[in-house]
Structures are given as C-alpha cells and as structure tokens.
Amino acid sequence: MVPMPASSPPDETDCIARAQRGEAAAFSELVTRYQDRIYRFLVRMTRSQEDARELTQETFLSAYQAIARWRPEARLSTWLFRIARNQALDRLRRARHVEFVALDEVLHEQLPADTPTPEAVLQARQRVAALEAALARLSVEHREILLLRDIEDMPYEDIAEVLGISLGTVKSRIARARTGLLQHMPR
C-alpha cells in the first residue's frame, strides 16, 4: 500500500468511499488514523501486549473484509471499536487462564516529562500501577465501558452503539464501574 501524501486529513467519509472502491491508499489512511486507539483499547481489554498487537491486526483485516457493507449512518470509530471489542471478547473467552501482565512496567517510560525528582517519578509510577491493577481486576463488562468513556472519551450514544446496549444501561453501568474501580483502589 502506498501511503497518502502529507496534507490536511481527507474527509473521513470520502476516505471510506474510496476504500470501498478498492483504493488501498485510502484504507491505509484509515488504518494509520485508528491503529493506536484500537491498540490502546485492546491492550487494556486483554491485558496482553502480544494479544493486543495481534488483535489490532485482526480488527483491521476484518474491517477490510466488511468495509463494502459499511454505511455512513454508522460512525467509523464505533464500527471499528465494535469489531475490536468482539475480537477481545473472543480471545478472553478462549483464554485458558487469566494472566495479569504488569502493563505499568512498559508504560512507565511514557510518564509525563514534568516529574523531575526521583520521588515524584516513583510516586507517579505507583499511582499508575495501582490504577492499572484496579482496572485489570474489574469485570470485562465494567472495564470495557470505562475504557470507552474515560480513555477513549466516547459519548454515551457511541458507547451504546459499540456495546449494543441502551443509553440507560450505559449510564448505570458506567456508574457501577466507577464505584467498583474506586473500591479496588488503595486508600
């Protein structure tokens, strides 16, 4: 696939239409736009970098197979996240055991640059580790909805679309997930 020349981002609907007509560069552009968001969601859903890398690829392969059926009434982001979510759920269901991978060991290098002292760095790492651990302990149902709301900043309507639930259920589930997460956090 030939990468698109650097320019202002093309209108997404136009990009999708061109991808549907078989323009590889247009699909490439969509992959580039969304790959990190999808990976970020999957790595916390599966708690495995290896699984998340593999499932990110599978998400876009599935999207490529199905893009002819995509309609403009659906937002591309919700469509992609729905595919990714289904990939993650399939993987989690097939997993023989739950292995918690300490993601904070990899993520600590991405801590904000404005934490100069070693004590501040240590405290920041500990806060991140505690939150990641608490997130990993949540049920899949609660973890996925918090990832979509508080990390992907999705509005309630889009979350309802991704998860296939009503707005009322989105509202109540987010509240229960947040309460559950607070209970798992160290005091």
């Binding site: 078989g22 580039t32 990976y39 970020r40 690829q57 002819a68 904000p112 990390i151 509240a175």
Partner: protein, 118 residues
C-alpha cells in the same frame, strides 16, 4: 431536591444529563457537602484515567498489512444466480422475468410436440 443516586452524579460528571436535570443537580451540589465529596471522587477518578499513559502500537500497521490484504476488498456474497452488476435494477428484474417466461415456454413446448403433418 433529595440527594441524587450515584448514577446521576456519575452522569452529571460526564455532562450527560438532560439540561434541566443537570441544572437542578448543580443547585443541589452547592448546598450538599456529601454529594459534593462523592462527585469530587468520581471526577478525580476520571482525571486519573484520562492521565494514564497511552500505549502505541509502535509500528506502521498499514505497511505490515500490505501483503495480507487482497488487491480489492471482496464484494458482499450474493446467494443464488445473479445478473451482472452493471445492469440497472429494473432492467435486471425485467430480464430475469423474460428469461423465466421463456424457459417455461420452452418446457411446455417440449412436453406437447407439434402434430405430424399428414
């Protein structure tokens, strides 16, 4: 106004309540330290989640997928016999009907041979 449920406080933090309800809750919070404390905890949690490191894939996935994607995305499967895509739908339907009638006529003719000339 009585103290709201946690569900409403959570939605308030997301500005996801109807405008009137959002305003009513805002008024309640001005005079209720307990609800204010609960809302602060929810908002602090949201901030912490938003501040989590954002892992990236670390490589160009589009380039990696290059060999795994077919040249053109496959078209949706059609079940059964179908006419060429370039025919307009009305023409395609009419052509199918004419074909079906012609086939039926052919079958009827074979079943009833012409009388032999004397």
């Amino acid at each position: 106004m009585t103290c709201p449920r946690t569900e409403d406080l959570s939605a308030y933090a997301d500005q996801a309540l109807p405008a009137r309800r959002q305003a009513a809750l805002r008024q309640h919070l001005l005079g209720c330290p307990a609800c204010r404390q609960q809302l602060d905890a929810l908002q602090a949690l949201r901030q912490q989640l938003r501040a989590l490191p954002s892992p990236t894939l670390g490589f160009d996935l589009a380039a990696q997928l290059q060999d795994r994607l077919p040249r053109r995305p496959p078209k949706p499967r059609r079940v059964g016999w179908s006419l060429p895509n370039w025919l307009p739908a009305g023409v395609a339907t009419g052509a199918a009907l004419v074909s079906a009638c012609g086939w039926a006529a052919c079958c009827w003719a074979r079943a009833r041979p012409f009388p032999r000339r004397p």
